[in-house]
Symmetry: C3
Subunit: 295 residues, 3 copies
């Protein structure tokens, strides 16, 4: 927990030899604010006031309202694609104004700022190197903090200061990352030929994404006929999907669902030129059982 969050002297020297010393730090935003109100713009105004040379990148602002598991999953599929030292300011915050903590986190090569409500569950599960603080230092908040818009008043300014080089430990009191809130996430475990899992995300096309990492089921994309590789059973919906496909254009355009490897790295269920979520009646949280057909 006492690790330095910024490069060592030697590392800094090396960095100054490369383009990194000239590059702009990135702040990436993920919220459920939508884009209709001016809230996201206001957060960016706050960030640009504190640190004009940052590169501000939107991940999305259309997380399903107050849906922490969904926000956590989108963040999980995105953060590895950002430059090291990127500061992710994430606000899906149904408990704003209550006693939930406001936190900043250093995990792996990145920083994360937001409410302590499970939004960083995947990051905490995946990155071993961790340290965290409660955002208790008002010097890095706006002078007036409202009860309902901590994105603007606490998270954006704390994130901007972090990105311009303020050490994590300046932002508040250190806490043990093990005490942070988590939502129930995978990866699910195999029981013989079976994996009990569930749907964790429904994308814009209605594709259903499970919490089964593709790496856990190599047989699913073997050379066997697609019908003989595996099944996904939706027990609560009395549906069985027993066909798989390497990519969408490979699957017959017959309105029937198939299993595929989503680009997020997780197993998905789709209907070509259709909406699997509405076709199957499935949603975030729906239970599934994966069955390996050739064991």
């Amino acid at each position: 927990m006492e690790e330095s969050i910024f490069p060592s002297k030697e590392e800094e020297h090396n960095m100054s030899q490369t383009s990194l010393s000239h590059s702009r730090p990135v702040v990436a935003l993920l919220t459920d604010f939508g884009l209709a109100d001016g809230d996201v713009g206001v957060m960016k105004g706050v960030i640009a006031t504190i640190a004009p040379d940052l590169h501000i990148i939107d991940i999305t602002h259309e997380v399903a309202p107050q849906n922490i598991p969904s926000g956590a999953w989108i963040l999980a599929t995105a953060y590895r694609y950002f430059p090291e030292n990127t500061v992710f300011v994430c606000v899906v915050d149904p408990g704003v104004g209550s006693s939930r903590k406001a936190i900043a986190l250093h995990a792996g090569d990145w920083f994360f700022v937001g409410p302590d409500n499970g939004l960083f569950s995947y990051v905490l599960a995946e990155q071993i190197d961790q340290s965290a603080v409660v955002l208790s230092n008002p010097a890095y908040h706006l002078p007036q903090v409202s009860a309902t818009f901590h994105g603007r008043d606490i998270f954006a300014p704390s994130g901007a200061h972090l990105a311009r080089g303020v050490p994590l430990t300046e932002l508040g009191t250190q806490i043990d990352p093990a005490t942070l809130q988590r939502v129930d996430i995978g990866p699910p475990a195999r029981r013989g030929r079976h994996i009990d899992a569930h749907i964790v995300y429904v994308d814009r096309f209605g594709n259903l994404i499970s919490d089964i990492p593709v790496s856990l089921v190599p047989e699913l994309f073997s050379s066997l006929a697609a019908e003989q590789r595996a099944q996904i059973i939706f027990p609560t919906l009395a549906v069985v999907v027993d066909r798989s496909s390497h990519f969408f254009a490979e699957s017959p355009d017959d309105g029937k669902p198939f299993i595929y490897a989503d680009s997020s790295g997780y197993v998905g269920i789709a209907v070509r030129n259709g909406n699997a979520a509405s076709a199957l009646g499935a949603e975030i949280g729906t239970l599934i059982t994966y069955v390996n057909s050739n064991m």
Copy 2:
């Protein structure tokens, strides 16, 4: 009106000692264009062509179509959070192509570019230090000006030139800011225990925002029981809201509306985990009467 819009020699010298001289100027955009067409992207292309090092920030592009009061209110809640010298290019412009003026405005520490139709009403009411020009200098427009897309052809290029340092008075003929168009905005006045006011904005959650500044009604968030502090009457809807809350998580989750201090600085009416606008049948423009219950 003859004030210099850029820093004095002495100020410039001071600025060059700080990080400001290295920082990127900000252009902030607010329109009702939506994001489906390419129009917002085209405006950004124009800006980047004129001034490649600007930081372009979206406030929102989803102002209710042609709704000037709504655009004016969103701008009012946002502009103070942006760096000084930010240029706000604002296009909610039902009269494009008619005789309405195209203007640029220096007010307080910021610049504003857009149609003269009331969009800058709050800014003009709130910032004493003002100067304005009609955008009559074609040298700062695109070579061809269309009849229907002044955002691209006049406002974006004028704003970009302003942000890269062209003086306001170069963009056109000075006019008296007192002659600019205004929409009817608050703040409303007290009549004894009463304040006649109205709803000025409905946010994405259906929360109703009034034009009563929170600072005008300190009793509303006093230590009295929430039911004894104040009422908001919707005379045209025959509804009385007589409960208030410091923040959403404090309010009972019972589907009933309550009064709260919106993060914009104005009094709002919300339903926890619900939509106050549809629950009450209220919308932008609905009249309300605030009554202080403990006077």
Copy 3:
């Protein structure tokens, strides 16, 4: 095809005398991904990792899903407004994972990266100076390429490398631009007083945009009475529009359609304060016949 895609020594020297040498290259994005999932954000993360100082600008991410002609048209109306050397990364890609080629293109003063499916049809028709490569060099892709998200794995990294100065020919094998896929686009030809054309875009207001360049029909905006200039016939809908207007505020607010010069440079049909697409029952692809009434 053997042209140099980057400035000559002499040109480079000249550029270094101007602000261009200090300016940030632009990558502009156009997709049908929507903004609800994190996909666009992930592409930006990839770009910022490769080239932190780029300016990333969104054209739109709401192209009608998998609608290549619509994406091609939006790109056509936008690209000329961007700085020279802008790299357009465009992903409307129903054939992802199939045998369709991934390409990069230098056309006129700009670069274009995306699938070879017709998305660049207008650019190829309008810009004479062309060279193209198939994106066959894996050194400029992400280390792992998925079957379904080439935007992230191939197009974004190739575009970012291009923008930071990697020569086009490094990205893969050169191909003859004449062999690239095209969608059927205009401009339509006159037959005496008639022009057979069709609707190529429906904007957010329901305005119908045709593929008739305004420059082809100067009579339409002559000094004749609006009813005597021209007609647009919708043969499949049994509708005739015989009124034109220079701008929206000029047209009577009577719910009837009129012909106007769209800011894109093409002839459009609109209903003032109304939706022409739903009023007329027209959509992308609907046939129209333009008739010059005063020949």
